[in-house]
Amino acid sequence: MPRPPTQFPQFSSVADVSKRLSTAGYLPDAQIATTVFLADRLGKPLLVEGPAGTGKTELAKALATATGSELIRLQCYEGLDEARALYEWNYKKQLLRIQASQGTDGADWNTVHDDIFGEEFLLSRPLLTAIRRTEPTVLLIDETDKADVEVEGLLLEVLSDFQVTIPELGTIAATRRPMVVLTSNATRELSEALKRRCLYLALDYPSAEREREIVLSRVPDLAPGLADQLVRTVRALRALELKKSPSISETLDWAQTLLELGLDTLDESVMRSTLGVVLKHASDQERAAAELRLN
């Protein structure tokens, strides 16, 4: 199995991953740090799966910051196709070029042909952009589960060889291999073939201790005692069977809200008035109010 182009490991050890991600504002646990380290070392794409708001996209951004790379993002959605993910010929410009040359007699077909299938008329989409870059790159393929199955086939091809063949231009191979992070909310099972080529990282809500650290690092002005209370309350909310459990980002929003309002404790009345920050469904709010005896 040939290992594609040059691949310089960015991290020296798992501890190095932890340190540099923390500096970039992302606090990884042992699992995240180890898996990121391996993805970097083995040069494999990293598939991050977990509920919404557990920091999947954030991880890719922090990774780009920590390694001094540029982040290139491919947002997946239903109906995403090659023309949006890989490359597209700018046909409008091509048409203009043809029409413009019609007036002048000098241009024969060959020169026009060579001309309109040149770099100038190529619209590079995220996947091609990431492959062609010579500087360090983190390629984030976000919400892979939203894309259609055909896109997975395309990804498989690109991610295994890191090269793209454009019939008119020839094969473009990566000179420097980007670090690839795929995220998924698990709304649909990704194909076995894709999963097999990736390192799998299941992200769940963090442990109480880690979440407290995250809150304190992102909202440093919050009193530690209140952060502790906040995190324990959020965990109690997650234990209820809600339609949408509060995510880390919502915990952070809540912390920010309490700070902005100048509140120093989380009691029934505060919670009643700010519940909308963490719970976004009416039925969830009712349920939480009943279970946590807010009334």
Partner: protein, 479 residues
């Protein structure tokens, strides 16, 4: 650290040991391909083998493909790459923690303590640890507690360890009130603060119990061989749990497994509505767009197609014998209701009632199921399933519900209690509908045994075995 030690006994060294582990993971129902096994071997060359947690997460990254597989994997990992009893190197003593010099532990080394005094002393220590909530310290304590309190009678086959002995001696549940008092200030009782504190206490106690069980497994594996332990310790993956035998502890997990499934079904149905050929050419729009390309109609525009709205009628047996099953199917119904207006749900025991109103979008499923039991008119006579009457009532009162556009979904075990099965009514419903399926939570081999009428129903309607979440998801994808 332990990896090296454990493998010396294996033929084939580290690679052989890894192979054994991979086989065990496969044996537990987690599919691991050859390429993944090769990747796992590569992991061994990259991670720091002295760091057990690195090895755990590293192997998990290549061997697992779904979050639900993680608990099973962790149990197996602890058996195959166990913590050692004695610290081997100085580095070990640091993170392993069985070493002497643990604060608080030394007090227990006083000779001449009897059992009652020992457990009293340890209870006090446990209380302190639970109050602090330091998970690592709690795990260390659990290991020590199993050593001190968990021993059974030594027998010729070796020393055995029991978690119930530890839990009986320490009875952590009786600490709850003290823990609550410690976590709460005076005057906080009763409201939000107490609920949150209760949750925290429950969480920490569960973590302690899990640590005790893991330690008992580890010691038993050391005494009796890990294969034996692995066989007993592995619980089926959440999507393999039988609907009819699900215990309450499985239920929450099962619901989590079914929730994305419901979403997936809804996405599938709506995707089908959107994909496919586009509608008639929109001439005006196409000509307009062609102006940008010099009059050449490069892109054609089409009018949106008329969408076919799927109508789904769910007819669900909610009697006690299939309670676990109907719960999940009603969840599916709820999820579909959130996406489509044309979903109607009917529940029956020995008579039928429409329950669509309980599933209005935004409603809570657990709530809805409880309300069906209380408010819907599904029991007419004695509370035992009567399919014949149920079908008749349905066909009679809601004759218009099933039409040529309707997909009919019947959910139940087809056990008629030897009452008339109502075959002609069902056959007529099937004939009038566009498609009809029956999901049966009983294993296929039991169809037709005793009062089951499943095989006869199977002659008039497509009957599908649907015993666990995995089969349900299979059905959803073929729909």
């Amino acid at each position: 650290m332990d990896a090296g030690a454990a493998t010396t006994a294996e033929p084939g060294g580290l690679a052989g040991h890894l192979d054994g582990f991979v086989r065990a993971v496969r044996g537990a129902g987690i599919p691991v391909g050859i390429s993944q096994a090769v990747d796992a071997a590569e992991i061994l060359t990259v991670v720091d083998l002295l760091e057990r947690e690195q090895l755990r997460h590293g192997l998990a990254a290549v061997l697992l493909q779904r979050a639900a597989q993680r608990p099973t994997y962790d149990v197996l990992f602890d058996l195959w790459w166990p913590l050692s009893d004695r610290p081997r190197t100085s580095a070990d003593a640091g993170d392993d923690g069985n070493a002497d010099g643990e604060p608080g532990e030394s007090t227990l080394d006083v000779p001449g303590l009897d059992d009652a005094e020992l457990s009293e002393l340890m209870r006090a220590q446990l209380l302190k640890l639970l109050m602090d909530g330091d998970e690592e310290a709690l795990r260390r304590f659990a290991r020590m507690a199993v050593d001190r309190l968990g021993r059974g009678q030594p027998s010729p086959s070796g020393q055995s360890f029991f978690s119930y002995r530890v839990l009986r001696a320490l009875s952590p549940d009786t600490l709850i009130s003290q823990l609550l008092a410690g976590l709460l200030n005076e005057g906080d009782r009763g409201g939000l603060a107490e609920q949150v504190a209760r949750h925290t206490v429950r969480e920490r106690l569960a973590a302690f119990r899990a640590a005790i069980e893991a330690e008992v497994r580890r010691r038993t594996a050391a005494e009796k061989g890990r294969d034996k332990v692995a066989k007993n310790a592995i619980r089926p993956l959440a999507d393999q749990v039988d609907f009819l035998r699900a215990q309450s502890s499985d239920l929450a997990e099962l619901r989590r497994a079914v929730a994305p499934l419901a979403r997936r079904l809804a996405v599938r149905l709506s995707a089908r509505r959107r994909l496919g050929r586009e509608g008639r050419l929109d001439f005006r729009k196409t000509v307009r767009a062609s102006l940008a390309t010099g009059g050449v109609p490069v892109v054609t525009h089409h009018r949106p197609r008329k969408v076919h709205k799927p109508e789904l009628v769910v007819l669900c047996d909610v009697s006690g014998s299939v309670a676990g099953f109907s719960h999940f199917t009603l969840m599916l119904t709820q999820a579909l209701r959130e996406h489509f207006t044309g979903v109607r749900a009917f529940a029956f025991v020995d008579t039928t009632d429409e329950v669509t109103r309980f599933f209005r979008p935004g409603a809570d499923v657990v709530d809805a199921v409880a309300r069906i039991g209380r408010e819907a008119d599904v029991v007419g006579f004695d509370g035992h399933s009567d399919y014949g009457t149920a079908f008749e009532v349905f066909a009679d009162r809601w004759a218009s519900a099933v039409g040529p556009k309707t997909s009919l979904l019947v959910l139940g075990d087809g056990r008629t209690n030897y009452r008339p099965p109502g075959m002609p009514v069902l056959a007529d419903l099937v004939r009038r509908s566009r498609t009809a399926h029956w999901l049966n939570p009983e294993p296929r081999r039991l169809w037709g045994s005793g009062d089951s009428n499943a095989d006869r129903y199977g002659e008039v309607i497509d009957m599908v075995e649907c015993r666990n979440a995995a089969q349900l998801s299979e059905f959803v994808t073929t729909l």
